[in-house]
């Protein structure tokens, strides 16, 4: 993780307990499993191993192998089993180790979990959470580095959550588990080790509510996951040059807090979207379309999109660093429209 500078959390009050993003998620799972016997965890290496990124650590000792269930490498089978268990009233939290693996299980998510309620005329509830990881920066190449959230945002019936801080991670995961709809909960791998204040007691961060991570008046940056941190870091540098940047973190990408985003654009008149997803038909273009359709008269400059290029993530550190949206890219995009 040394290659990833996590700059500025934007939260933090003296005296509050500080834990990591991974610990915050672990605590959310623990507290929800303690609260509701219908919550259970299932996925590859989630048991004794504690999850490949350590998020389910200690849960098997506490809740046993029935509720912390290791699975074979059969993502379609066990995500589909999550759908079935949810359809009869359980609340499975299923782990898809890397979002890149969704291809082998996508039908169970986009044709099954997402559509069952609608197709059956509102009779079914599918309270399923699929936790998965995204993000580049680990020299993990094209099949372990992608940010494919757009493929889920695209599908009606899913909710898509992408937290950027430990506080949001815990509150959003608890809200997702308590939600009666299928939620795709996406954790950026580079964020697991970051620390931030997290209350000990269970709490919900409501789905569909964005968070203004930094207030500003000249330009709005809408950013997701790790890109929130890069944008905050860029904003700090831009401040020194007299440019005031507002950073909006949608936190949930579906539903989307359109009002908060539009209000910010109306205030600043300028928009940069920073996202690690691919450039075409992605979250960034979606927000650009939103601005063009609903805030055109408030825009003083073209909307700028900062995303990776239209290529798979490469392996070599030199290539990957060039591929990923950097702080410099963000600064350049902002300066381009703030003259």
């Amino acid at each position: 993780m040394a290659c990833l500078e996590v700059a500025y959390l934007g939260v933090g009050v003296m005296g509050e307990r500080v834990i990591t993003f991974a610990e915050a998620l672990n605590e959310a799972l623990d507290q929800e499993m303690a609260r509701d016997p219908k919550v259970f965890v299932m996925g590859e290496d989630v048991g004794v191993y504690g999850g490949i990124f350590g998020v389910t650590k200690g849960l098997i000792e506490k809740y046993g192998p029935e509720r912390v269930r290791d699975t074979p490498i059969a993502e379609s089978g066990f995500i589909g089993a999550g759908v079935g268990a949810a359809a009869v009233g359980y609340r499975p939290v299923v782990e898809l180790m890397f979002i890149d693996f969704l291809g082998v299980a996508y039908d169970q998510i986009y044709n099954q979990a997402a559509k069952i309620r609608y197709m059956f005329g509102g009779k079914a509830k599918i309270p399923l959470v699929v936790r998965t990881t995204c993000g580049a920066g680990f020299r993990a190449a094209a099949q372990h580095s992608q940010s494919l959230h757009a493929l889920f945002i695209h599908v009606p019936g899913l909710k898509v959550v992408m937290p950027s801080t430990p506080y949001d991670a815990k509150g959003l995961l608890i809200a997702s588990i308590r939600d009666d709809d299928p939620v795709i909960f996406i954790e950026h791998k580079a964020l697991y080790g970051i620390k931030g204040p997290v209350p000990k007691e269970p709490y919900e961060v409501p789905l569909g509510v964005a968070d203004v991570k930094r207030e500003g008046k000249d330009v709005t940056i809408v950013a997701t996951a790790l890109m929130v941190h890069r944008s905050l870091s860029a904003a700090k540098k831009l401040e020194e040059e007299g440019i005031s940047v507002e950073v909006v973190d949608p936190r949930t990408l579906k539903p989307l807090d359109v009002d908060t985003i539009l209000n910010s654009i109306k205030k600043t008149g300028r928009l940069v979207v920073v996202d690690e997803g691919y450039p075409r038909c992605g979250f960034a273009t979606d927000i650009a379309a939103l601005a063009a359709s609903l805030a055109f008269e408030h825009l003083k400059a073209p909307v700028k999109l900062v995303t990776p290029p239209d290529t798979p993530p490469p392996f070599s550190p030199v290539l990957e660093d060039a591929w990923m949206p950097s702080e410099e890219d963000i600064i350049k995009a902002v300066k381009n429209i703030v003259k």
Binding site: G80, V83, N111
Partner: protein
């Protein structure tokens, strides 16, 4: 092959036998009506009929309790009716009406009623198999003796969800019964060209579970095989794979030109292997029912089907604004069901 004790028809209560007969006949008469209505342009979309395969759904379902669950296929009318779904709600759904089982949002391919344990017909081949596994997992976690049955076709037995789902159920010893309705064709591709093994049931071995082949045109044979598998599942002894050899009397879908099989072949099956006729002959020859009784049952069922069709035709269409409803259960802030303002 089945190793259990073969019941003679006299050992099954008459009430149960008549239930099976009535369900099979209801499916057949309703499917014939659906063919007629589809041809007349009154049923929108795609329709896959279950005529010829009735003994499979009914023979299995005769062993299930209302709190057991099933997953079904694109050819799902029979499963829906046999599991206790409302005929009126099914017909209203086929016609796309507001009163339909899915409020006009699913149609023939997605007919479902969770209230009777019918977790849904599925437009994706093999898509429902893991759902039955998950429901069975929930039953195991809850410590109850409910079971889940997954119906699917021979085509689905080459799908990842078949292999992954059965393997999960096997390693976790879940109360699932996998019922392969092998109707010998995957749309046009004959079974012999889909796989090299002679029977889907043989695949049970690959997952360390029993695989049983049964004549899917003999409702009592299906009943017995299913009974053993279901009892086994309820006792916590794990899943069974049943392969019911059957035949669809209609095309893959209504309108299918069926160039992949001969008229003679279809006629042979209809003449010699009609599950309803075979069952009638058995009931009559054993003196369990009289011809008059059967005639009375048929009249009653024709009336029920006509009433269901009438109910559907007289039902209102959904309000176009309902297109935005039923996407989500839990409301949230933000834009949940997106629609660009025009």
């Amino acid at each position: 092959m089945l190793g259990g004790i073969i019941l003679s028809v006299e050992e099954i209560p008459k009430e149960k036998l008549l239930w099976m007969y009535e369900k099979m006949l209801t499916i057949r008469i309703s499917e014939e009506k659906a063919a007629e209505y589809f041809a007349a342009g009154k049923i929108p979309g795609f329709v896959h009929l279950y005529a010829g395969e009735e003994a499979v759904a009914v023979g299995v379902m005769a062993n299930l309790r209302p709190d057991d669950v099933i997953t079904s296929t694109h050819r799902g009318h029979g499963h829906f009716i046999a599991k206790g779904g409302s005929l009126k709600a099914m017909w209203a759904e086929l016609l796309g009406r507001k009163t339909g089982a899915c409020k006009g949002k699913g149609g023939s391919m997605h007919i479902a009623d969770l209230d009777v344990g019918e977790l849904g017909a599925n437009g994706i081949v093999g898509g429902g198999i893991p759902h039955a596994v998950g429901a069975a997992l929930a039953f195991k976690l809850a410590g109850v003796d409910r079971v889940a049955v997954s119906f699917f076709g021979d085509g689905a037995s080459n799908q990842q969800n078949f292999h992954e789902g059965i393997n999960l159920a096997a390693i976790w010893k879940l109360p699932v019964i996998f019922v392969c309705e092998n109707n010998l064709y995957q749309i046009s591709l004959p079974y012999s060209k889909q796989q090299t093994i002679k029977s889907v049931a043989e695949r049970g071995k690959a997952y360390g579970i029993p695989g049983v082949e049964v004549d899917g045109q003999d409702v009592l044979a299906v009943y017995e095989v299913a009974r053993e598998a279901i009892e086994r599942a309820r006792r916590g002894e794990g899943p069974t794979l049943i392969e019911a050899r059957t035949y669809r009397f209609k095309g893959h879908f209504e309108g299918d030109p069926q160039i992949y099989r001969s008229k003679e072949e279809i006629e042979w099956w209809v003449k010699n292997k009609d599950p309803i006729k075979l069952f009638e002959d058995k009931l009559l020859s054993k003196g369990i029912v009289t011809k008059e009784e059967l005639k009375g049952i048929e009249e009653k069922i024709r009336k029920l089907v006509d009433e269901a069709v009438k109910y559907a035709e007289e039902s209102p269409w959904p309000d176009p604004k309902e297109v935005l409803e039923d996407v989500y259960s839990t409301p949230t802030k933000g834009w949940l069901v997106w629609r660009w303002p025009i």
